[in-house]
Amino acid sequence: MTIGAGLGLKPQHYAEATGDRRPGLWFEVHPENYMVEGGPRLAALERVRAEHPLSLHGVGLSLGGPDPLDPAHLKRFRALIDRFAPFAVSEHLAWSRFEGHSVPDLLPVLRTSSELQRIAERIDATQTALGRALLIENPSHYLNLRGHDYDETDFLSELVRRTGCGLLVDLNNVFVSARNIGIDPLIWLHAIPAQAVGEIHLAGHSEDPVRGAQLLIDSHDRPVDAGVWALLDVALDLWGPRPVLIERDGEVPAYVELIAERERAQSVLQRERVAA
């Protein structure tokens, strides 16, 4: 089956998602939400998976973190991969675990030469433990950190070269970061190795309640912004068709509303393009 545009799967949409047979539709979940012993959550995911391709998008591996990789977490992740046979497995260039605890966020890495080596080794170890190549996602940036040795695109490209991982490009994160720390989104997209891109994310963002439009938040609580849709066109012109996902985690609307956004992504994917 061709993988087209997909949706982040929400529990309130299990039944509609399972029964939706439109071509190319797929779903993505955070594996951490399904690391349970049993019960209705896993059963619902089984039903969705029986009808649709699935992607597992991790948020808890803390690939850029200071703590050792957590073997128990890797084991749980591997069990889900073995059970649900996802077409893609992804994580973030970020960290979320320190001093034996995890925080539900994606903290920024310092892109130094030593961190490149260390994170590449951690990605390599993770891929070995999971038995799969990972797609690594660019996070949103809110701080203009000093001390980087690499641009983000160069750092990601090096990770690809050293570990054989692919990339998940989150275009909303590119848009948000461009506004927040002043990168040029078009230069950013052109610097990404096309062959490495295995998935694209789209989501909505919001303005910071204090600083307004000067600081955009990757909030996933509204429809995809026009500027992000424009980046999708550029990205697909550069890279060709790739699986595209609509993410929504807050103010989740009815399924019919989300699927309409997915249909827009599907139509953009199907548009004829001149090869880059």
Binding site: V36, H101, P104, D105, Y142, L143, R146, G147
Partner: protein, 251 residues
């Protein structure tokens, strides 16, 4: 931990200037985006896990209480669906909440409901499985509660309060000074909480602790000498929450 990781952790805890080496002063307030994201996600997870506590406190108060807990208790792992394991005991230690001394028990029941919902899918032994044993084998058999069925005991009644809060009712919030044992079990895609009669509670308690069915029956009779054991056993099996293990299984 690298100096950068250490500084970021300190910035999350409130010392934004710890990041001075890496972030210009005017940008440092943006660390609040990370701090707020973490707090919001943890509060949201607690609100989902502890609906009766949230109903008892009201949304604004619950958010304040949850934020205070979350500040000092980052999750042990990245799965937020079972975050809040220490919330009940923490509530019990809060002087400001001492007048609502039933909050910790509400939290214990909320958390048990969540644990049962996500428990392993081990099936209960059907009644025929018990009926196939000889009386001798049956009396020596042990039957544990399946993972999706758990007991919880309170010194004063709680279920009516818990149910009233979840239903959004202000009535029925009085606890009576009598012990109450509840069976929390997954039924279909939901969780049922039911009060057990004292003899049934005694029977299940022995089963849960690994005793034989004969010992469980004896406990039920000790609790209630007029108990009809046949009727009790039929009732217990009807609840579909025991997994039979014969001596042969244990070898």
């Amino acid at each position: 931990m690298s100096a950068f990781h250490q500084a970021f952790a300190e910035a999350l805890a409130g010392d934004t200037d710890a990041l001075a080496t890496w972030v210009e002063a005017p940008d440092r307030p943006s660390v609040a985006v990370y701090r707020n994201t973490i707090a919001s996600a943890l509060i949201e997870a607690l609100e989902a896990a502890f609906p009766a506590v949230a109903a008892a406190l009201g949304s604004d108060n619950f958010h304040q209480v949850a934020a205070a807990f979350a500040r000092d208790h980052y999750p042990a792992h990245p799965m937020l669906h079972d975050y809040g394991g220490g919330f009940a005991d923490w509530l019990a230690g809060q002087d400001a909440l001492s007048e609502m001394d039933w909050l910790p028990d509400l939290a214990r029941l909320d958390y048990l409901r969540l644990s049962v919902l996500n428990a392993a899918d081990t099936a209960a032994t059907p009644a025929e499985g018990f009926a196939s044993l000889s009386p001798e084998a049956l009396s020596h058999a042990r039957a544990r509660l399946i993972p999706s069925a758990r007991l919880i005991r309170f010194d004063t009644t709680l279920l009516s309060v818990w149910e009233a809060l979840l239903a959004g009712e202000g009535e029925g919030l009085e606890r009576r000074p009598e012990p109450e044992t509840l069976l929390v079990r997954r039924v279909g895609e939901g969780v049922e909480v039911r009060r057990l009669a004292p003899d049934v509670a005694a029977f299940f308690s022995v089963c849960a602790e690994g005793g034989t069915l004969a010992e469980a029956a004896e406990a039920a009779l000790t609790c209630e000498p007029t108990t009809d054991l046949t009727a009790l056993f039929s009732h217990v099996l009807g609840l579909s929450c025991l997994h039979l293990s014969t001596e042969r299984d244990l070898l």
